[in-house]
Amino acid sequence: MLITNEYTMKQIQIRFIICVMFAFSSFHFVEAQTTTANETDSTKNANNSMVQVAYRKVPQSNLLGGVSVVNIEELTKKNYSTYSLDNMQGYVGGWNGNSLWGMDDYLVLVDGVPRDANNVSPTEIEQITFLKGASAVVLYGSRAAKGVVYISTKRGKAGEFKVSARANQGMNVAKSYPKYLGSSEYMTLYNEARANDGLSAQYSANDIYNSGSGNNPYRYPNVDFYSSDYIKKTSNRSDLTAEISGGNDRARFYTNIGYIGVDDVFKFGEAKNNSTNRLNVRGNIDLTINRYIKAHVNANATFYNSLSAKGDYWKAASTLRPNRVSPLIPLSYIEKNDVNSLTLTDNSANIIDGKYFLGGTKVDTTNIYADYYAAGRSKWTSRQFQFDTGIDIDLVRVLKGLSFSTQFAVDYATSYTTSYDNRFAVYSPSWTSYNGKDVIASLTKINNDKKSGVQNISGSSDKQTIEFSGQLNYVTSINDSHNFSATLVAAGYQQTQSQVYHRTSNANLGLQLSYNYENKYFVDFGAAEVHSAKLAEGHRNAFSPSLTLGWKLNKEGFLANSSVVNDLTLSASGSILNTDLDITSNNSKYGDYYLYNTNYNQADGAWWGWYDGASEHSTNSMRWENKDLTFVKRKEFSVNAKTALWKNLITADASFFINSMEGLIIQPSTTFPSYFSTGYPSSSFLPYVNFNNNKRIGFDFNINLNKHIGEVDFSLGLTATYIKTEATKRDEYHDDAYSYRKGHAIDGVWGLKNLGFFKDAADVAASPDQKNPVKPGDIKYKDQNGDGVIDANDEVYLGKSGWYGAPLTTGVNITLKYKNFSFFALGTGSFGAVGMKNSSYFWVSGDTKYSEVVRGRWTEATKETATYPRLTTESGNNNFRSSDFWLYKTDRFNLAKVQITYDFPKKMLQNFVVHEISTYISGSNLLTLSKERKLLELSTADAPQTRFYNIGFKLVF
C-alpha cells in the first residue's frame, strides 16, 4: 500500500509538472505575441563550437565523452551528399553505420523531436550529434536508452541576408549484374541435374541447339534480364535547393526549398515512366521578443510521389529461367490462314508496338515483361508535415542564472498508394515447322483482358507525433571557480499510427547537475525518473542515474604551459538506464501493453463452427501473468580521453565502454512445455519474464590532423569503432556444451562444419547418417557430437553476422585545399563479420534459375576441383543449409566518396549579382577493396548496387 502511494505520488508529480509547464508555456507564448518587442541588448549569435547534447548546448571543449559531433554545414561545403546519415562512420567513432556502440536500436531526433532521418536533407542540417554513452542520453528517458542521433537544422543568423541556390545532376551506374546462365547452358546443366536424380533428360539436343543458336528466340527463348534491350546503363537524379536566411537582432529566419527527382532504368512498358520525386519546404523563425523572452517556430512540409509499374523486375530477374517464356512474340509468326489465332490476337488489348503479342505458358501464366506492359501502375504518395515551437525565458528577475525553456511539436505524416490493377491475357504458342520456317500453328489464350478503370487505394496509413518538453535551467558561478549548472526537465512524446491501437510513448523527468572547479575538475550527475505504462502498476516508474567525473589535465600546472599538449581531458562515467524499448510481445497483433497480465481473448480467437454455417470465436489464453515484469537495464561503464596536441595539429577523442543489457524479456521455453503455446489458434500460457542478458565491450576513436603545408591546407581524419558482443544469459538447454549461445556473440551465425564432398558411395556408407538422401558430390558434414547422425545438434558457432554493424568499423577522410580547389575523399571499412551465401543465386536446386556458380559443380570427372555440390532437381536439403561451406568474410574497404570543388575567385564576382559560385564533381561508392569484392557488389533479387556520379553548382547571391 505504501509503495503504491509512493508511486502514485510520483506519477502525480510528473503529471503536475508537465501540465504546469504547458500552462506556463502557452500563456507566455500568447503574451509574447501580443507584447511589443523591446530592444534587446545582447543576442550574440551562438558560439560555433557549441554542441547540442540532451536539452542543452555545451562548448565542444567541455564535452565529457560518449558524444561525437559532425558539423554538417561545414562538411557539405566540400562533400555534397544525399542522405543525412550518409557514411557518418567516416567522421566519428562509435557510430558504425547502423547503430551506436553496437546496440540494436537508436532514436533519431530532428530538432529534439522523434522524426525520420531520411526526411531531412544534408543541406538543411547544421550539425549531427551522436549521443552514444548512457550518460549522454539519460535525460531523454526510456526510449532513448540505446542512443540518440540528434540532427540540428540550420537557423538564420542576425545581420546577414543570404540567398543561395544549389543544383545537382547525377547519375547512378550499376556496379555489376548477376550472371545467370543462358538457355542452352541452363538446359544442358538441368539435364545433368535430372540425370543425377535418376531422371531422363528434359531438353532434347535439338532444343538446346536451337536455344543456343538464337535463330528464333521466340520459339526457343533465351531471355537475358540484364540486356540493354530492357534496361539502361544509368538512371538519373537531379536536385535543386534554394536557401534563404537572414534577420536582425529581433527576428531571424531560415528557409530551405528543395526538389529531388529520380528516374529508373527501364526502357519499356509502363516502367519507362517510373520515377520518384520529393518537394520540401522547411522554414524556421527565431524571435527575440524582449530581454527575457525568446521564441522559435520550425515548420517543414515534404511531399513525395513515386510512380511505378506493377511488379518487381529484379526479383523476377532472379527467378524466371531464360528458356521458359518468350515475353513478346511477333504477330508475323502466326500463319496467315490461322483464323482462330488471328482472331485471338485481334481481340487482345495488349498488342505491343502494333506487332507483338504477350507470350506465356500454362505454367508461367504471367511474367514481369507482360506485367510492365499490361498490369497497370501504382503511385505512392506521402505527405509529411512537421511543426514545432519553443520558448526560452530568462528568469533573472526570479533568480539570477535561472531560465526556463519549453518546446512543443506536432508532426503528421500520411501515405497511400493509388493504383490501376489490370488483368490481361497471355498467349501460349504451339510451334511447327513449315517449309523449314518456324510458324505458330495455334495459340492458347490464358487469362482474360480486364481493365477495370477503377482506381484502387491501398496501404493508406498515417502517423502523428506529439512531443513536449519543459525545462528549468540554472547556471551560477562562485568566484569564477566553482561553476554549477542544473537542469530539470519534464518531457514526453507520443506517436499514434493508424491501425495500431496502442501508441508509442515516452514520459520522464530528468535532472542534470554539473559542477566544475575552474574548468579543471568536473562532476556531472544525470538522472531520469522514467515512466512506462507497459508495466504493472507499482512497477511503472524507475530511476536511472548516471555519474561522470572528468579531469582536464591541461589545466594542471605541469601541462599548463606545455607546447605539446593543448588539451587533455579524461573522464569516466557509470550509468544504469531503465528502458521499456525491449518490452515487446512476440505477437505484434497484441501490442506491447499489459504483458504482465493474464489475458484471455475471444476477439482474436480462431473461427470454428459445427453444423454447416455456424461460426464463433474461440477463447484463448494469450499469456500468464507476471506482475513483476520490469524495465530492461542498460548498465554501463565508460572512460573517455580527449586531447589536442601541437596547437591542434592533432586532435583525438577515444572512448572505451562496457555495457550490459539486463533483463531482456522472453517467454521462457525451457521451463515450460512446448504445448503451452501454439501458433494456431494463437495461444500461450507462458508468462513474459525478464531473463536474457547481453554484454557489449568496445572502443571507438577519431583522430584528426590539420596542417598547412605551403599553400596546401591538409586535413586527415581517422575513425574506428570496435565492438565485441556476448550473450551472457540465455534461456536455453542443449546436450552439448558447444551448442550454447551463451558466451558467444549475440549476432552469431550457426551452422554445420563441412568436410568437402562425398567422394563415392563407399564414402556415403561409411559416414554418419546425414538425415537426407545423399549421393557422391553432396556436402559431407562433421558429426560434432559423434552420435552418428547429422542434425541441428551438430551446428557450431561460425562467426558474427554483423547485424548491427561489423565488429570493426573504420573510416578515413582526407581534405586538401589548394587555392580555390579543394579535394575531398572518404573511405570506410568494415571488418570481422561473415555472411552466408544462401540466396537462390547460390542455393540452386529444383527449378531455380542457374547462376554462374553452378559451373564449378561436382561431377565424376571434376570431383577433385569441384567448388559446388552436384546439381539436383530435388530439394537439395542436405547441401543447402547453414554451414561453413557457404560462409564468406565480408571484410571490405570502400572508397565511399571523392569530390573536387572549385570556388570561383571572389574577385571575379565583384559587382556581380552572385557573390559566390562554386562547382563540384563527385563520385560515390566508387571502389571496394575486398577479397570478396564481386560477392559484396552483387545484388541478386534487388536493384543493382550503383556508383553515383554527380556534378553540382552552388551560387550565393
Binding site: 493474464t598 474461440s618 477463447t619 500460457f685 538425415k771 530435388e874
Partner: protein, 598 residues
Amino acid sequence: MKNIIKLLVLIPLLAACDDLFTPAIENIRPLDAMYKEPTYAQGILANAYILLPYSSSPNSDAATDDAVTNESASSFLKMATGSWTSNNDPMSQWQARKNAIQYLNIFLANSDSVIWAKDPLIRTMYNDRLKGEAYGLRALQMLHLLRAHGGWTADGKLMGVPIVTLPETPTSNFNVPRNTFQECVKQINDDAATAISLLPLDYGDISDANIPSKYKTLGITNAGDYNRVNGNIMRGRITGRIVEAIRAQTALLAASPAYSAGTTVTWDDAANYAAVVLDRINGVSGLSATGATWYSNATEISNLASGVNPAEIIWRSGKDNSASAGGLDLEKNNFPPSLYGKGRINPTQNLVDAFPMVNGYPISDPLGTYVLATPYTNRDPRLTKYVLVNGGTQGPSNTVITTGTFGTNNDALNKENGLSTRTGYYLRKLLRSDCNPDPNFNTAQFHYTAYIRYTEIFLIYAEAANEAYGPTGKGTHNYSAYDVVKAIRARAGVGASNGDAYLESVKGDKDKMRALIRNERRIELCFENKRFYDLRRWKVNLNETAKGMQIEKQASDGTLIYNSIDVEARAYKDYMFYGPIPYSETQKWSQLQQNVGW
C-alpha cells in the same frame, strides 16, 4: 498564427494521456469472465474443435507406399526419405493434442460454474452436453496423441503419454513420467464412457414424448427446451455415436500387433466396440451403397441439409464451396497440370497393384488374368475411381490425361518439376471432376472432410473379428469378417461375375483372410491419412520402394510399353514403428522417457 496558438493549447488537452501514464484500455479478461458469458466459456471448448486431428488433404500418405508427392520441399517427403528425428517430426501430435487437452481440462474444471442458461434445468442439460463433448474430445485427442507417441522404452515397457486431467499452470510440475499405454487406453475408455453417458446419440429435434428419461425425471416436459440444447442446431458437434466409434478405433490400435504385448485389449474387445457402432445401422445391411465415392456424390453432397450426415458418414467437417479455400484447394493441388493443378499427390504403382482384378483375384494370381500390356483393363472399378491413370479423363470437360512419356504437355511423367507426376499417376480420390481450377473459371464445388466413416468401422470389425473368431466366426454378433468383406467388395463391384470366388477361396484361411482385409482397408481408406499408422500398428515393411509406371509408345505401331520404375526409396528404421517424444521435451524433463531408438 492565432490558429496555431489555439492548436498548441488544445492538443495537449485533447490528446488524453492514454499509453503515456496508463495503458489505453484493452479488452483484457481473466478466465472467470466465462462464468457469466456462455459464448466466452464455449470458446474455451472450441479450441479442441479447432484442433481436431483431421486433415483435409492426404499429406501423410506421401510418406507411405501409397503415394509420393512432387513437392520437393514437403516435410512428409523429407521424413520418408530419412529426415525423421525426434526434433523434426512432421507427424508429431504433441503440441496440438496436448494444447487441446489443456483447454479441455480448463473447460471441465470450470463448466459447472458457468451459467449456461437462466433456467436451472436447461443449464443442467447444457452443462451435461458440453461436458460430454469435452470428455469425448479429450478421448479423441488422447487417442491421436497415443497413436503418434506411444511406444516401447528402453526398459521394455509399452508406454503412453503422461495423463493430464487437470488444468496446468506455470507452477505445475511438468517433470512427470509417462503413463503406460494401457493406462492411457483406460483413460480414453473412461472419458468415452463418461461422454457417452452425457451426450445424446445424435443431435436432432424431438417431440415431447421422446425426451430422454433422465431429463424427464428432472422435470423437462417441453421438447423445445431439450431441442434448444440438443436439437438440430447442435449437429456437427461430437455425439455419443462418434465417441463409440472412437472407442472402436482405440481398441483396434491397442489390440494390433505393435501394441498387443503391452496391453490387455483383445481383438474381441475391438470387435465388440465396433459392433456397437455397426449394430446401430443393422450391421452389414447398413453399409451405404454409395459410400466408396462419398467425396464425389454430387447430388448427395449438394442436397445435404445443414449438419446432416450421409449414410456413409459418422462424423464430417462442415461443407465448403469457396473457391479460395476448401471448395477448390484439393483440385488446385492435385489436378494434373494441364488442368491447372499442381499434381501434388502421385499414387504409386504399389497401390495400383493392390487393386484386384474385377473378378476379385489379385493381379498376381493367375486366375486374375492380369495382362501387363493393358494393366488398367478388367480391374477393380475402384482403381480408376481413386487413381487417375494414363488415358483416363479428368476435369469438367473430361479431358484425356496422358501421363506416358510420349505426352505432349506437362501431364507426362516427370515433364515439369513440381507439376508433373513422378509415378505416372495422379490422384483422383477426394477430388471432384466438376471443379475447374483454370483461373479464368475458378469453379469450386462443395467438399467436406470425412472424419469417421462407417466403412472404417466395418473394416475395424472385419480385422478384429477375423483375429478373434476366424473369417466366418461371428462371436456374439450377427455378422462375420467374411460377411463384411463380401459386402464391401460387392459394393465396389468386385467379383460380381463369379460370386467373388477369390473371397470364397480364402474364407477358410485366417492368414489369407487377414491379408485380404488389410488390402481392402488399404484400398477403401486410401488417401485418408490412415495408411501411415496402419503400416506401423501391423508392424509390416515400412520401406517398400515407391514405384511408378513409365509408359512409352512404340514408334513403329503405336503400342504402349509399360515399365515399372523405382521412384523414391523409403528410409525408415525399425524403431520408427513408434513415433518419438519431442526432443525438446525429453531434454527438459528427465522423467520423460524416450521410445527406443530415437
